[in-house]
Every structure is written in C-alpha cells, then in structure tokens.
Symmetry: C2
Subunit: 184 residues, 2 copies
C-alpha cells in the first residue's frame, strides 16, 4: 500500500488526471476513477462538473455497515441515492417538514434536493451511486483523503473537526449537530 503522496503531495495520487477535465467521451472500468477514503468508506468520482459544464457529477460509495452519518443540508446541491448493493436507511426532512426514514434495498432510489436536512445509515455493507449538482462530487476527497486503492478494506481516514468544517464551507453545506431522527 503506497501513501507516498501523503508525504509528498506533488507525487500523486496515481489517479491524478484520470478524468479528462473537459467534456469529451471516456470509459472507466469498475474501480477506476478518483478514489478517496472518508471514515471507513471508499468514494469514487466517476464524473465531475469539469466534464459536464458543471451540470452534475457522479460518485459511488462503497461502505461497511455502521452508524448514522452526521445530519447535514446543502445550500445549493441536489443529491441522489441509488442502492446497487446492500441496505441503506435514508433519513430526510420532507416537503412538510416531517422527519421521514426509508430503508433502501438494491434498485431503490432516494432524492434530496438542496435545503433539506438528511442523513443515512449503512445497515448492511453497501454500494451506492449518487448524482450531485456539479462540483459537489469532490467534497469526499476534500473532507477525506485521496487513495490509490479501489477498496474500502484499507485504513480508515478520520478527519479532524477543522478539516470537516473547511470541506463543508468549501462545498456550501452545513452539519446540523443535535438534529435527532425518531427511528435512528
């Protein structure tokens, strides 16, 4: 396992430049893309706003079962949750301000537009795909850390609080400490 770029950031990560950075066609094999670890989850950017005139980006998340992630909301980012494998419980505030939850299994789809509090919990090891308003897709590598390895089975990365806050500010979102979900 190589963490050279953590010692000398100018060296990498290896995936640097894998996405074209402009609107041209390309193909990625499973596991390819911009990989990063955030907590125990592997995030892989398959497409960024740089390729879509900032319309949208696409990320997959490979995640082990765990606790509910911190509740948050985005000021301008719309976000989808499509479950490919495993089970994910999605928590969200609905249009009437009611707190909802829904257990998503493979093939199920959730949508949370800008301005709505939400969180999720990986109930069984899961693979999810998310489409996001362009630019947000790189949040995960900014709050997490770049990695060359396309597996979640590697050392976790636990950001400190200033790093979390900096990533949240950069990506126009806020964590909502103290927000409770009835059936979490």
């Amino acid at each position: 396992m190589s963490f050279e770029y953590l010692i000398d950031p100018s060296k990498g990560p290896q995936w640097k430049g894998q996405l074209p950075g402009k609107p041209v066609p390309y193909v990625l094999r499973k596991g390819e893309g911009e990989t990063s670890m955030l907590f125990r989850d592997l995030f892989t950017v398959l497409l960024s706003g740089d390729e879509t005139e900032n319309q949208f980006g696409i990320v997959t998340a490979d995640s082990p079962a765990g606790d509910v992630i911190p509740t948050h909301s985005h000021n301008e980012t719309h976000e989808t949750f499509y479950v490919i494998e495993g089970k994910v419980k999605l928590f969200y505030e609905d249009a009437e301000g009611q707190k909802q939850s829904s257990l998503l299994t493979p093939g199920d789809f959730g949508y949370v537009p800008a301005g709505f509090a939400h969180a999720y919990q990986i109930v069984e090891d899961a693979r999810m795909m998310g489409t996001l308003s362009g630019g947000f897709e790189r949040f995960f590598q900014h709050m997490g850390t770049a990695t060359d390895h396309a597996t979640k089975d590697q050392p976790p990365f636990i950001p400190d609080f200033p790093r979390m806050q900096a990533a949240a500010q950069q990506h126009n979102m806020q964590f909502m400490q103290g927000f409770e979900w009835p059936d979490a």
Copy 2:
C-alpha cells in the same frame, strides 16, 4: 395488461404524477417511476429536470440483447452509461474523431457529452442507469409509449419514422443514418 390510456390519453398512465414535479425529497422502490416501452426496452424515469432545476435527470433501461441502436448525437445533452447488470457495447467518437468501442460489464461507466456521435448494443440482457442533462430524460416516453408495467417482458413498441423524427427534434438530437462503426 391495460392499455386504456392509449385509447383515452386523459386516463393515464397510472404513474402520472408519481414524480413530485418540483425540488422536494422522495423515495422510489425498484420498478417505480415513469415507465415507457421503446422498441423492446423498458425505460424508467426516476428523476426529471422538474425536480433538479433542470440540472439533470436519471433513467434506467432494462433491455434484452439485440442489435446496435441507431447512431445519434445530442446538441446539448450530456449522457452517462452505467452498467448495473449484463453487457453493453458502447460505440463513440472520441475527442480526436476516432471511432471507439468498449464492452461495458457491471460497474463499468461510459460518458458521452453533447456533440459526439454514439450508439450502443446490448450484448447480454442488461440493466443500465443513465444521468442526462435535465429535460432529456423524457425522450424515451416521447419516442416510445407510456406503460404501466415495470417489465420489459411486454409487447414491444415500434415507433414509426415521423414519431422518431418528432421526438428527436423535440429533444434537440439527430440520428446519423449511414454512420458505420468498424467493429459493430
């Protein structure tokens, strides 16, 4: 199987109004969404531009193995191809104008932005997910026909040429008759 809405379009289809039509949170179970048949393929709209301020829409396609679909290009629509099940051969013109093809298997991802000729062939029965620039997601129901049944195992819908042309014009794309792929 009910085709009542084909006799009286004011009656349906049953899924009418299933998507909220504005940016609010919601969940769909596998099989839910705006379903339509186009040729032998079932297309399901999970999210439309109406929910995303026209940033993007999301569609799944459940398709039997078959021939290469007609080559086409979009004037303003960016389009992704993510293979969930099966095998799909993607044909595309690359940034250098070279004709490329790539066999995509589950977990593989292809991207074709506006302005590039492309086509695909379902090599083995497949389920794909596509994210599209907002608005294009309803192309499939305009060129195809709405259906209440979330399965591709139902009568195919073969559009006539005027219907194909009308849908293409409405969605700002063109078919490229006579365009050949070397390894199609």
